[in-house]
């Protein structure tokens, strides 16, 4: 079964959010990386770019497939994980750690509350894979 850490928030597009004050660290879930297979390429935005919630902020590609990533919350990009340019496989190996994608300074931190909890996300992926 896919790993779904308790302390994170989840979107139905299979992104996770970890809040650090008003910063949202965003990545893709273990379920998502496992569905994609070997990640070979990650395209990320630039620092300073602004996104509304549910906007496409980049893409992650495996040998076989391209998957767009969507911002679970609104905000400005303060940092992107540049190391994924050279080591995209971190997304497979450590999706909740070294495989993080972007950090957003949230413009409305209340948006986090509308995301799924770990238990809800787990139910959601179970339903989706049936």
């Amino acid at each position: 079964m896919a790993n779904v850490p308790e302390n994170l928030h989840y979107s139905k597009d299979h992104e996770w959010v970890r809040t650090e004050g008003d910063i949202a660290v965003i990545g893709i879930t273990d379920y998502a990386q496992n569905s994609l297979g070997d990640v070979v390429y990650v395209e990320l935005p630039k620092a300073g770019e602004a996104f509304s919630a549910n906007e496409s902020f980049g893409s992650v590609e495996s040998v076989k497939a391209v998957s767009e990533m969507f911002t679970p919350v609104s905000g400005n990009v303060v940092e992107v994980n540049e190391s994924l340019n050279d080591e995209p496989e971190k997304v497979n190996g450590d999706p909740y750690g070294e495989g993080w994608m972007v950090k957003l300074k949230m413009s409305n931190s209340g948006e986090v509350d509308s995301l799924l909890t770990a238990a809800e996300y787990e139910d959601f992926t179970k339903a989706e894979s049936e």
């Binding site: 070997d38 390429y41 040998v63 076989k64 391209v66 049936e130």
Partner: protein
């Protein structure tokens, strides 16, 4: 999802794929593994360096029997079946009157009055109808025997050594694009030195109820589970392997809208063998010259081209990507595309429209990958 999955066709290895952890997808109506837990990259690399095992039982088989078998096949395919000897196979195509492609196939000569056509899974029914409709009845019997065969491909530098442990046939004596009939692990089989990976290897045809036995034995003899052992490979690795070798995939590089000459398949057009469906159109196109041609390209910037994306030169769309993917062994991002013949030159700079972003690429020589032959 569940309802459609029930209707998908299954090969005799379906439950084996599931036991091995294969991720199953709908591939042209077949429930097939796209990859196993090792992943596409590892499966691809293992096939290049050791051996990979592929279930290709979904491919179709059509028997052509009778004294008129060779003339009949020659009348509907582009290559010259009269040149085959017993135990030899060749790559050919079923052509339309316009010289475009109904399907690509292998033609096996078992005997002068017994040919076996091996066709693509998704086109088997179409091919069967096409072939039947050209059959005038004289001295030829056609049989769709797709359900009477499993087909397992063992590919890679270790393929011969693995398979040799299962048969008394002298595999080293089977030349490329030749085959023998004999016993493999006690099972009557056709063992063909062919494949779709750019590696040396074999394709084994046998009765479907023997598929599991042969597959499991190949995994066992090939030391599956060890770091240098054989790996079962899914459709994704099959695709990247054939793409590195620049082999055409039906529905991508070739279809009923592309001619053999445009696809660089003039080498399977034998114009001196007598008439065949599409000959006239192909001869005319050869004399006049093709207007577009299939090329291989390498991405020179960051980005991955994908099937169906536009090829751009000087801001104008000039063609379409037929196959685009990362190439795991070459560690490049590559693809094939049709472009106007004046641009189909090695070194020509092009751009690929990757979801709205123009990514630089360059036309290169194909195949992208060519194995070192030591024999």
């Amino acid at each position: 999802m569940t309802a459609t999955a029930l209707e998908l066709k299954k090969t005799p290895l379906n439950s084996v794929h599931r036991e091995l952890g294969g991720r199953m997808v709908d591939f042209g109506g077949w429930d097939m593994p796209v990859q196993y837990p090792a992943g596409t990259v590892e499966e691809h690399l293992r096939t290049r360096t050791r051996a990979g095992l592929f279930d290709v039982s979904h491919m179709g088989e059509i028997e052509v029997l009778g004294a008129g078998a060779i003339p009949f096949v020659n009348s509907i395919t582009s290559n010259d079946a009269s040149k085959l000897v017993d135990g030899q196979a060749h790559y050919s195509a079923l052509t339309t009157p316009e010289g475009t492609v109904i399907d690509d196939l292998l033609v096996y000569r078992i005997a002068a009055d017994h040919l076996l056509l091996v066709v693509n899974a998704g086109t088997t029914e179409k091919d069967w109808e096409w072939i039947s409709s050209h059959h005038e009845g004289e001295d030829v019997t056609l049989r769709n025997v797709s359900s009477e065969y499993c087909q397992i491909a063992l590919q890679g530098p270790d393929a011969l050594a693995i398979l040799q442990q299962m048969t008394d046939l002298s595999l080293a004596d089977i030349k490329y694009y030749h085959f023998s009939q004999g016993s493999v692990d006690g099972v009557p089989a056709i063992v063909s030195r062919t494949g779709y990976t750019g590696e040396d290897g074999f394709e084994v045809y046998a009765a479907p109820d023997k598929a599991e036995q042969l597959w499991n034995k190949m995994l066992e003899v090939g030391k599956y589970g060890t770091t240098e052992g054989v790996l079962p490979c899914g459709l994704a690795a099959r695709n990247t392997l054939r793409l590195e070798a620049a082999m055409a995939l039906y529905g991508h590089e070739i279809d009923e809208a592309t001619t053999l000459l445009e696809a660089n398949l003039g080498w399977i057009c034998k114009f001196n063998k007598g008439d065949f469906v599409g000959r006239e159109a192909l001869v005319k196109q050869k004399e006049e010259g093709v207007r577009r041609r299939l090329i291989g390209f390498e991405i020179t910037e960051r980005g991955i081209a994908r099937d169906g994306q536009d090829v751009i030169v000087n801001g104008e769309k000039v063609g379409t990507v037929t196959s685009g993917s990362p190439a795991p062994y070459l560690k490049k991002n590559i693809g094939m595309a049709y472009v106007p013949v004046e641009l189909a030159v090695e070194g020509q700079a092009i751009q690929i429209d990757v979801r709205g972003r123009l990514v630089g690429a360059q036309i290169v020589k194909t195949p992208f990958y060519k194995r070192e032959r030591n024999s």
